[in-house]
């Protein structure tokens, strides 16, 4: 046999055996215990090592995720499936304990908040914001060039025909890219289950707000009034003249939305709340419900001494239910009403 053939097989084979055996042995001797979740998260991530998350590679990101510093949503490349898989490995909570969702804190479409001049510079929010406090009449209003929409990695935002961005909650992961992108701090993150939020940033009061926008918060404080929110969930910030919602309260401030004179509060569950109904066979006619009902002429006394709720006027606040001594009041789903009506 050709000696060079034997030499070749011996050299490469020997080298391979030596290195292979050495590595196998070394992997035992130099074994380092690591959190098995790091391996799992690493496998779930895209594995492109692109560095877009700010880490050196996917493995470094996995270490940070397991350490609680990052979440799957910090990977701009990851699809929502990957984010969900990472969250599953981490036991349902991928870093942040509260599931957040983005909101738009402005409702000033051109018909409600007009432009004060025609802007023809760079068609970006950052550019528009720099020229004369922006072209919107309101210094806090959304400029509508959609930098937030462009920044959204999950296709959870669209630009509406009213020049205001819309967030689709089911796609929003609460990653906060839109919050970073907005030069006016209009985008904001709130808990996903938060019932109501304020969609205005204007810190001025009454007249100064009304001059520029029909739907801006005028700082009247009616929503924070004890009559509207007895739980104390809403309070007025004296410096910004805006109501502040404390989402740690388990309250649905529907009445606050109802009393707002400018509609600047947005009810996230609007249309999905049940309206209430009094069972006439159980009503004993004490009228406690009519006393507590915040809406005028919503609960009225019938000729037979019973009380009825007008489904057209009911704002779904549910205040009447606990005060009824005979438990005659129960919710009926909105869609059920629609079928009847």
């Amino acid at each position: 046999m050709d000696p060079s053939l034997i030499g070749a097989i011996a050299s490469i084979g020997g080298l391979g055996l030596l290195l292979g055996g050495g590595l196998a042995y070394a992997s035992r001797v130099f074994y380092v215990k690591v959190d098995p979740r790091i391996e799992e998260v690493d496998e779930a991530l895209p594995g492109a090592n692109c560095g877009a998350c700010g880490q050196a590679g996917c493995r470094q990101m996995a270490v940070q995720v397991v350490g609680g510093e990052l979440t799957g949503a910090d990977c701009p490349v990851a699809s929502s499936d990957v984010v969900a898989r990472v969250a599953e490995i981490m036991g349902g909570v991928a870093g942040a304990a509260v599931d957040m969702v983005a909101i738009v804190r402005c409702q000033g479409s051109p018909d409600k908040c007009p432009d004060r001049f025609e802007y023809s510079g760079f068609q970006t929010c950052t550019g528009g914001d720099k020229i004369g406090h922006g072209h919107k009449a309101c210094d806090w209003g959304c400029l509508g060039f959609g930098e937030c929409v462009a920044a959204c990695p999950f296709d959870a935002m669209v630009m509406g025909a009213d020049r205001l961005p819309k967030v689709m909650d089911e796609n929003c992961t609460g990653c906060g890219k839109c919050v970073e992108a907005c030069p006016r701090d209009i985008m904001h993150l709130i808990p996903r289950n938060a019932p109501v939020y304020l969609a205005c940033m204007n810190i001025n009061k009454t007249k100064k707000v009304q001059e520029v926008c029909d739907i801006g918060c005028i700082g009247c404080g009616r929503c924070a009034n004890k009559k509207a929110t007895p739980s104390g969930m809403v309070s007025m910030n004296k410096e910004t003249n805006l109501p502040v919602f404390d989402y740690s309260y388990d309250d649905e401030p529907v009445v606050a939305v109802d009393v707002c004179p400018t509609d600047s509060l947005v009810d996230k569950k609007a249309g999905r709340r049940p309206i209430w109904h009094i069972d006439p066979t159980m009503c004993n006619g004490t009228g406690e419900c009519a006393k507590i009902c915040p809406v005028k002429k919503c609960i009225t006394e019938t000729d037979g001494g019973k009380y009825v709720i007008d489904p057209e006027k009911c704002i779904s606040c549910g205040w009447c239910e606990p005060v009824c001594p005979t438990k005659a009041i129960s919710p009926i789903q909105v869609n059920a009403i629609r079928k009847v009506g």
Binding site: S11, L15, L19, G20, G22, S27, V29, N49, A56, Q60
Partner: protein, 201 residues
């Protein structure tokens, strides 16, 4: 020991025949890892490290196993050069990675992803092959390996510094990102061409 000769080799590998800008080896990490200065320095350190041990072990493998004049069986196995070098470098880097993960976790953190990324980098294979082509001794090979790594790091760090500033510059939209980086790489290569007139030794 001929210090002058080693100095010539070192200057040659760092400046005159810079691996990235004159030999165009290792362009992938040069563009890929030059986005930020800190990761460029991490990558550079890992490359210096790997090139040094690759020079050492590939030289040993070549002389004692492949070269007919010096190996154990006296037959010409030089045709196995590429495959055996890749085998040795990949195996060694894996081994070294395990060792430093166990013994020096902080160094492992610093080198991070870059160690496994450069196991089969062409610049690392290039330095091993060049050592043989130039008939370097073991010491010369080591110096060439370290110097080539330093040259790579120099080019990478310079590029990262430029790209960090480029992020703030007004670059035409079509050229933003990698395209302008390639143009910068070309300009830097032209600048390094000036070193080819340098006469040492």
């Amino acid at each position: 020991m001929d210090w002058g000769n080693l100095f010539v080799i070192a200057v040659g590998a760092i400046l005159i025949n810079n691996f990235v800008l004159m030999r165009f080896l290792g362009i992938c990490p040069y563009i890929g890892v030059s986005k930020s200065l800190s990761s460029a320095i991490g990558m550079g350190m890992a490359v210096i490290f790997v090139m040094t041990i690759a020079s050492l072990f590939s030289w040993i493998v070549y002389v004692y196993l492949l070269d007919p004049a010096t190996n154990f069986w006296g037959v010409d196995l030089t045709f196995l050069r590429t495959i055996s070098f890749i085998l040795v470098i990949a195996g060694l880097v894996q081994f070294v990675e395990m060792v430093i993960q166990k013994l020096a976790p902080s160094l492992y953190q610093a080198l991070g992803i870059y160690l496994p990324l450069i196991t089969t980098n062409c610049a690392v294979l290039g330095v091993a092959v060049l050592n043989i082509d130039e008939n370097y001794s073991l010491v010369e090979s080591l110096v060439n390996g370290i110097a080539a790594g330093i040259g790579f790091t120099l080019a990478l760090v310079l590029m990262a510094g430029i790209r960090e500033r480029l992020d703030l510059a007004d670059v035409p939209k079509a050229l933003q990102g990698v395209p302008i980086a390639f143009i910068m790489a070309g300009l830097m290569a032209i600048a390094f061409l000036g070193f080819s007139g340098l006469s040492v030794g």
